[in-house]
């Protein structure tokens, strides 16, 4: 049995009085593709934001490669809250693509992709440039490298955002509803890039998505989240075609009729 690359152990998360995650246990294997589905407010996005360290869990443990993400041991061997250095040492294995792209508007497309490898990984600039150009070529934007983000369409922006995240060679990539801010006709080009990435294989992916067909197509496993708990999970076909719980059935019916 392969060791999981990410483990959530009894994760709870509250915002003020509202508990959005009520005990999440989840293992992600290296290279595994997991799709998170569920109604809005079910806590899907929070799950991946916790792993990206954009939110801190209220209780529970997240491990990446067996290392505790949010805690570290001090000199006496006692658990204390992780400092920035500790977080940075683990965060390098994780990448994220955002719903609203979050490209850096004051930098060109190429600069967006080159920034982190040059200043975080301290790689040689010429090498980084070469890799960035290859990466941008892969997402079909080799003719746009000198443009600024505001000169691109939403689909193009999202492809840049993916190239930028890929530059850091993460072992786990998080996708936060990456197509929901896009015009319908631009969704395809972004999904195409993700599909290629999924086929390439070695990178684990967690996708928060509303694209059910897409989840069915590329995911190894689908998780249905409802009111802060994992209600049902398993093989995509099982979950999406023959759902067991009433809530999932309800969700899928409403979802397909609303489209």
């Amino acid at each position: 049995m392969e060791e999981p690359i990410v483990q959530y152990k009894d994760i709870h998360k509250s915002f003020g009085d509202v508990e959005v995650l009520k005990g999440i246990d989840l293992d992600i294997l290296p290279g595994e593709k997991v799709a998170l589905i569920g109604p809005s407010g079910s806590g899907k996005t929070t799950i991946i934001r916790l792993l990206m360290t954009l939110e801190q869990p209220t209780s529970g443990i997240i491990e990446v490669n067996g290392r505790n993400l949010w805690q570290m041991t001090d000199k006496k061997g006692e658990y204390i809250e992780a400092d920035d250095k500790h977080l940075r040492s683990i965060r390098g294995d994780i990448g994220m693509v955002f719903q609203h792209f979050n490209l850096f508007p004051h930098m060109t497309i190429l600069e967006n992709c080159m920034l982190a490898p040059t200043i975080v990984s301290k790689k040689d600039k010429n090498e980084v440039r070469k890799t960035a150009l290859e990466m941008l070529d892969k997402v079909g934007l080799s003719d746009k490298v000198e443009l600024y983000p505001n000169q691109l369409s939403g689909g193009q922006k999202q492809r840049v955002a993916m190239a930028r995240a890929l530059m850091m060679r993460p072992k786990v990539m998080l996708f936060d509803e990456v197509t929901s801010a896009l015009d319908p006709e631009l969704v395809g080009e972004v999904l195409e890039v993700i599909r290629d990435l999924a086929k390439a294989g070695d990178m684990a992916m967690i996708l928060v998505t509303h694209e059910m067909d897409f989840a069915l197509d590329i995911a190894d496993r689908v998780l249905f989240l409802n009111e802060g708990v994992i209600e049902e999970q398993g093989d995509p076909r099982e979950i999406l075609v023959t759902p067991k719980s009433a809530r999932l059935k309800d969700f899928l019916v409403r979802f397909t009729t609303n489209r």
């Binding site: 990206m52 360290t53 954009l54 920035d84 940075r88 965060r91 390098g92 994780i94 990448g95 994220m96 955002f98 609203h100 792209f101 979050n102 490209l103 850096f104 508007p105 004051h106 920034l115 982190a116 200043i119 975080v120 983000p149 505001n150 939403g154 922006k157 930028r164 995240a165 850091m168």
Partner: protein, 228 residues
């Protein structure tokens, strides 16, 4: 007392000499205010509530009390404060007094610039594993500072018009020269008019320039924030 064109013409070169001192002092005070402004921003970002609260109120106190009284405090009172007191020459006192007063304004400008940067920019830089210093240097400040340039420019003009306060503690610039001339010949209105004209001549075109800058930056900024 009647208006005398002769006196008016005669005082132009006299006041002009003071113009350079006024301008020099303006720039010195302004630079001080620009740099000291970061101090307040820094203090307000320390994640300790009481420290935060204390510095917010100190800044509020300085901002909402008269700079003239603050000048008098620094020039007349500071030298007799036990242990830490030092006698300052009028120039240094003016730079400190007006500089500190206006630093509480520049800090607000910086703060508004920083707050105008989208939250997603912080998140994306975290996701790319940038350190705190790198986030500020490469992502936040390059976006926060440009839109504040017109506002900062406005404060330069405002500073220019506040600098004559320094004449009250003996800085011999335009206003002081005019008042001296008045005291000597009992002709106040003409030299004061010359002073006013010099102010107008410099600040009106600068204000026009700034409002043009403002339009330019606003346009750029709108485009940027519309869709990142």
């Amino acid at each position: 007392m009647t208006w005398s064109w002769e006196v008016f013409i005669e005082t132009i070169p006299l006041i002009f000499k003071g113009l350079w001192i006024t301008l020099g002092l303006t720039i010195a005070c302004y630079l001080f205010a620009m740099i000291a402004g970061f101090f307040w921003v820094f203090m307000s970002r320390i994640p300790i509530k009481p420290v935060n609260w204390l510095f917010r109120w100190i800044a509020e106190f300085i901002r909402s009390t008269p700079p003239l009284v603050q000048l008098f405090f620094i020039y007349y009172a500071w030298p007799v404060v036990p242990v830490i007191g030092v006698t300052l020459n009028p120039f240094v006192a003016a730079i400190l007094g007006l500089g500190i007063h206006f630093s509480t304004y520049t800090s607000e400008v910086y703060r508004s610039g920083i707050e105008s940067v989208d939250k997603g920019q912080w998140e994306a830089s975290t996701a790319l594993n940038l350190s705190t210093a790198q986030k500020w240097r490469y992502i936040i400040l390059p976006q926060a500072i440009p839109p504040t340039i017109p506002m900062l420019g406005n404060y330069l003009i405002i500073m220019f018009k506040e600098v004559p306060l320094a004449s009250t503690i003996g800085v011999v610039a335009m206003l002081h020269l005019a008042n001296d001339y008045g005291a000597q010949y009992y002709k106040y209105v003409e030299p004061l008019t010359v002073v006013a004209l010099f102010f107008l001549l410099l600040s009106y075109p600068s204000a026009l320039l700034i409002s043009r800058l403002e339009k330019k930056y606003n346009r750029r900024f709108d485009k940027k924030t519309a869709t990142l």
